[in-house]
Structures are given as C-alpha cells and as structure tokens.
C-alpha cells in the first residue's frame, strides 16, 4: 500500500522522463527521415540525368547498328551483343558449379577445419578486386592455356570471378531455410538429395537469385577482366560463325565506354 502510494507520487518524475524520451525519439525519426530523403534525392538525380540526357540518343537504330565514323556515330549493337555473349557463357559455366558448390558447403561439407579454411578462402575471393582476376585470367587462360584474348578466355575468367559470389549466396540461402522444413522432408523419408532439391532449393531460390544478380553485375560490369582477357575495341569481320566468334576477342560495353572516354 505504502509502496503504491509512493509510486503514485512519482508521477511528475515519470511525465518528465517520458517527455524527454519522446523528444529524443522525435529527433531520431526526423534524422532518419532526412537521411532517407537525401538518398532518394540522389537516386532521383541519377535516374533523372540519365533519362533526360540519354533518352534523345537512344533509339532502335542506336541499339541495333554498329558504330560508325570512327566510333563517334552509329550504334552500339556489337558491344551489346558481345556483353550478352560474355555474360551468357559465363553463367552457363558458373551457375551449375556455383550452385552445386553452395549445396555442398551447406549440406554435405560438415564443419571440419579444412572446410572452415575453404569457406574463408571463398569469402575472400568474393571480395577480391577484379583486376586480380584479370591478371589471373591473363596468366592462366590467355597465356598458359593458350586461349589467346578471346571470348572463351573471358568466359573462364569471368566465371572464376562470379563463382565465389554464387557459392556463398547459395550456401547462405540454403542455411536460412527453416530447420522445421528440412525436418519435414526427412520425416517423410526423403533422401538427402530430395530434401535439398525439392524442399531447400526452391525456398532458397530468392536468395540464390539475388546472388546471381550480384554476380552478373560484377561479371558484366567489371572492365579490367573483360578488357584484358576478352576485349577488343572493334572487330573488322562482318559475318562470323559461332566458333569463330568465341575463339576471337569481342567488343563489349565496358571496353567501349572506357575507350570512348579517352
């Protein structure tokens, strides 16, 4: 009774403390709001500039024709084609290996020290600058394997670069699948592989796709490995067969833009 009464007497203090709290929380909300506005403004500015200044130049002809007049006019079709060719082949190589690697790490590898070391190495590979991959590709694929500067050498180099990102995101996405789902699969008498492929993988797909998008941004956009292992400013041949196309170097967007800026 006494205790309750004395609590009641603290009402004034409580009100004071609450008003202080709500002041701080107001400041916090305002700060978050400001930062958010700032970020949105930057994004709008970027998108706005690109659309306003770029839109007049982009039309079907620009996208479907080769450059003309010493690259100062015409279109960028060969560069687009080259970039798509590079990404396509890269993912044909990197996706199956990367996803299987992620499945292995998540479910089969266990937690030995060797695996810990491997996981650490993959993580650091995922953060390794692209110029290192470029030099690696030059040394191994272009020179030692004698693939020359070619689309094939570019595929292998870019696949090497995309692989760690795909492996890690697959592993993490698989590990994030709730244990209750995994147990449901095993309790139904599914094999380990069935649990992986029918239960875990479908649920991990959004996470894996995020990893693939990150990796493809890296593979398509990083200039050094493309320039060093696959790139050419422009090819003179007009018509080529597929084999010829991939044995030789290719035009690509990063190289085109880099050269264009000179």
């Amino acid at each position: 009774m006494d205790a309750l009464t004395s609590l009641g007497n603290h009402n004034e203090l409580l009100t004071k403390r609450d008003s202080k709290r709500s002041l701080w929380s107001g400041v916090g909300v305002a700060a978050i709001g400001l930062v958010t506005l700032f970020v949105i403004a930057i994004i709008l500015f970027l998108i706005g500039t690109i659309i306003l200044r770029g839109a007049p130049s982009v039309n079907l002809g620009f996208l479907s024709q080769p450059p003309l007049e010493n690259m100062t006019a015409g279109g960028i079709w060969p560069q687009i084609r080259g970039t798509l060719l590079l990404i396509g082949g890269t993912f044909l190589i990197a996706l199956p290996i990367g996803i299987l690697g992620g499945i292995f790490l998540a479910e089969y590898a266990g937690s030995s020290r060797l695996i810990g070391l491997v996981r650490g190495l993959i993580t650091s590979l995922a953060g390794t600058p692209s110029i290192i991959y470029a030099l690696f590709g030059l040394a191994v694929f272009v020179l030692i394997l004698k693939l020359n500067i070619s689309v094939i050498a570019g595929w292998l180099t870019l696949a090497t670069m995309a692989l760690p990102v795909i492996v890690l995101s697959t592993e993490q996405a698989l590990k994030a699948v709730p244990n209750s789902q995994i147990e449901a699969g095993y309790a139904l008498g599914m094999t380990r592989w069935q649990v992986m492929s029918k239960v875990a993988l479908p649920q991990a797909m959004p996470g894996i796709i995020t990893g693939i998008i990150l990796a493809s941004g890296r593979a398509a956009g990083e200039a050094p490995p493309i320039i060093i292992t696959a790139g050419i400013y422009f090819r003179t041949e007009k018509e080529m067969g597929f084999l010829e196309l991939i044995r030789g170097a290719t035009e690509s967007l990063p190289l085109h833009i880099t050269e264009g800026l000179r």
């Binding site: 147990e183 449901a184 095993y186 139904l188 008498g189």
Partner: protein, 268 residues
Amino acid sequence: MNHSQGASINPAVNTTDEVIVSAKGLRVYYGDKEALKGIDFSITKLGVTALIGPSGCGKSTFLRTLNRMNDRIPGFRVTGNLIIEGENPYAKGVDLLELRRKVGMVFQKPNPFPKSIYENIAVGPRAHYGIRGSKLDQVVEEALNAAALWDEVKDDYKRKSGLSLSGGQQQRLCIARMLAVNPDIVLMDEPCSALDPISTGRIEELIVSLSQTKTVVIVTHNLQQAERVSSHTAFFMFGELVEAAPTEELFANPQRDATRDYVSGRFG
C-alpha cells in the same frame, strides 16, 4: 464441443498385446550430456501411447530416436537395444527411408511446405511409390479424407497454398502428408501445443480414429489430453522412465511418488 473441458473421447478402444516398439537400456547422448538414461519401455501395437513429463526430461528425444530424426544433431549417440517392428533401426545397413516410411512424424509447429495443398501431400507418395496421375490424385484425396480436411479444401486444394490454411488446418495437412506414405507408427510431438481449443479437439478426434489402424505415440504437456486420447501413458523425468501403465491406472493410482506429484499438478 469443447474438448479442453476434459470429456473423454474414446480411449483404450483398440489396443493389442503385440509389442511393436521395444527399448531396453536405451541411452541417448548429446555430446557429453546423457539425455536418456537407460530406458526400458515397450509400446504395443495400435492405440495411443502418451509420453508425459516435465520439460527437458527427454520425451522428444525418445520420440525422435525412434525414427532417427536425431541423426542430424552433432554429438548425438545412442546405445542399448531398440527394436521396431522386429528390426533394430540403428543396425548397419538399415534403409533409413524405409524406416521413415514406416514411422511417420508430426511436429509441434505445423510445417507445411510453401506449395499447394495437393503438392504437400503428393511429394511423399511420389518419392516412395513413384505413383503419378490419377492414382496419385486418389491417394491425395484419401489422405485429406483421413485427416478430416477434405471437406474444407476440396474446392481448391490443387491451387491453394498449404500456408494459407489456419493453424489447425495446417496441422491436419501435415497429418495428411504423413498418412499419404502410409506409416504403421505415427509419432506426434506436442501436435496441439500451437493450436486453439477447437482445433485441438479436432486433432484429438483424429488421433483417436487413427489409432484404430496405426500405433500412435504422442508427447503432450497437457495431462487432460493424455487422459482423453491415450490408452497407455508413460511418465518421464530427468531422462528416465519413471512409470508406464494403462492411462486410467496411471492417473487414478500412480505407483511412484514422483508420478503422483506430477499428475496431481504439483509440479511440471
């Protein structure tokens, strides 16, 4: 009908004397921790056996040892004797998939797959029996019927996601999914603890009707539930089996002090 008020549904209908699960000196370890300290326990075919006891006493461990669900836990070890339907599930060369087909399991929290109701049920029979097409449709429908879910979902079970069902319906879907692989033994680990009283009542009715043709082993925190649905009850404490008896006997006339204290609600 409110089953949480303690009305007995229909216990002890259909039990036999034939032993289907037999444990002798069964010990389970998680690393250094001994979770089951030498269990001697037999479960007879058909009917419902309830496992009761305070949290952490090893009820789930015992249940999950039966279908080897603990195998995936690092440090899990089992010693002693265990025979299920005449075979030691931990013997070399045991077909794990066959064991889990014979011994189905329902978990505490309903865990349907994020797929259609149909697909949830179809995965098991497809994997085990390789059936497809209209035969599979038939199996799915039968499983939904057996789990008393058919009438509620028959209009859109091929399209509707299992996750869009209510909690009680999800748990019945999980039961249907398990029934579709046609197990002989059904393990349930507190299957109603996440459900409201009405859904609980439905599941309890289902348990009793399943026990006509299958051996049901259920872990429950709810003593009234054990009284309502089970024919036999086993009381666990600190990793040991304190007492096992026909349910009425165990509740009316417990032989051990610890059992008496627990069933009279003095601890737990």
